[in-house]
């Protein structure tokens, strides 16, 4: 039985891996894909992580991973299907294997939330997208829309404005929520047309996106719609094992959950600010708590 399994290889999991190596724990990182970074992989510009004035998420994710690999972390590529309490620790069951550890740091993060409007599921991959940096270039010179008002929505709108003829930014509130410097850039960008206090009602189109209808009844023609309405915590594997609030695992910065031996780090934890910097901090804290716990049992 290992000392520790780290579930997830975003910034929180990789930071935990570096600290676990330094603590000389017997541990492994389980990740669904042999490529690390989590949500930042889709981010084309990151300017708020100390030491990197301007980088993209892919580069930062790879930089983090190289660091964790050099520190000696073992990576297992498998998808976790269940986590169960056993005598003296936990069994982590995966699609292709199973692993046992005294403790688990749960750092599976979050994934983009679906909007749940008519046409969304049917036209996903046919003009409906959750990744502007991936799919933006398929809409060169054409009209698109972004739904949402947070950082990601604003970044997406600015990115698309470089490529598309016009970008409608649709947000249900009467003001945007994202960082002030992003709002400023959005307001100054002539290609971005703000639609506030209105909501998407239906995505129109037979075989591909052709237009949108809003709750107010307004319709307009677009070829693509990018959905950026926040994220959903990936906490389902711990249902019934730990205390949760709105899908997030309840813990303070120590990462200590309501279940002995299960610790949490990153976006899946209840916290105020979800950023790369706070995820990295969580990873360090969680390992510190793991060490304390291992010394007690």
């Amino acid at each position: 039985m290992k000392d520790l399994i780290i579930a997830g290889s975003g910034p929180a999991g990789l930071s935990a891996a570096v600290y676990a190596s330094n603590a000389m724990l017997d541990f492994a990182v389980i990740e669904k894909f042999p490529m690390s970074g989590g949500q930042i992989l889709n981010t084309y510009d990151i300017n708020n992580y100390l030491g990197f004035e301007s980088t993209d998420g892919f580069t930062l994710g790879q930089t983090f991973r190289n660091h964790a690999e050099k520190a000696g972390a073992e990576f297992i590529n498998d998808e976790i299907t269940a986590i169960e309490k056993i005598d003296g620790g936990y069994r982590v069951a995966c699609t292709m294997g199973e692993y046992f550890a005294k403790t688990v740091i749960f750092a599976l993060g979050a994934t983009p939330r679906k909007l749940g409007v008519k046409g969304e599921a049917r036209l996903t991959g046919r003009g409906v997208s959750y990744c502007a940096t991936c799919d933006g270039s398929f809409f060169k010179g054409r009209a698109t829309a972004v739904v949402g008002g947070g950082d990601v929505a604003l970044e997406d709108a600015l990115y698309l404005a470089n490529i598309c003829s016009e970008v409608y930014l649709i947000h249900r509130r009467d003001e945007l929520r994202g960082a002030k410097y992003l709002q400023d850039r959005v307001f100054k960008n002539e290609k971005i047309k703000l639609i506030l206090s209105d909501e998407l009602d239906e995505i129109l189109g037979e075989n591909k996106v052709e237009g949108l209808r809003l709750k107010s009844g307004k319709t307009f023609t677009v070829d693509g719609v990018f959905i950026a309405v926040g994220t959903e915590a990936q906490s389902g594997l711990l249902d019934g094992l730990v205390e949760m609030k709105n899908g997030f695992i309840v813990a303070d910065e120590s990462g200590i959950t309501s279940a002995d031996g299960i610790f949490v780090a990153g976006d899946v934890r209840t916290k105020r600010l979800r950023q790369v910097s706070t995820a990295v901090s969580d990873g360090a804290n969680a390992v510190y708590s793991v060490e304390e716990y291992l010394n007690q049992i």
Partner: protein, 104 residues
């Protein structure tokens, strides 16, 4: 092995190939594509009955257009010269194997 395929060879090799062919439409600037590529590489070593190809949508925009690619990564399985199945987004190894095995 996953072979990089160009527009001019697509008809003879993929459409006219004797085996089912899986084509991974990707681009270098697409993070999720770069997550999926090593999974496709690994799975390609495990099946002799399927040919594996990848199309860089930047270099081969005509192919991306012809197959209506609007979201990547996108996997298309061709069988008997026709589209057999399609999958958009990143998929883990086990799901990719299931996708491949359906065409066998």
């Amino acid at each position: 092995m996953v072979k990089e395929i160009k527009t001019q060879d697509f008809k003879t090799e993929v459409i006219g190939g004797s085996k089912p062919a899986l084509v991974d439409f990707w681009a270098s600037w697409c993070g999720p594509c770069r997550m999926l590529s090593p999974v496709v590489d690994k799975v390609s070593e495990q099946y002799d009955g399927v040919d594996f190809y990848k199309v860089n949508v930047d270099e081969e925009p005509d192919l991306a257009m012809e197959y209506g690619i609007m979201s990547i990564p996108c996997l298309i399985m061709f069988k008997d010269g026709k589209i057999f199945d399609q999958s958009v987004g990143v998929v883990p190894e086990a799901a990719l194997k299931a996708f491949v095995e359906k065409a066998l």
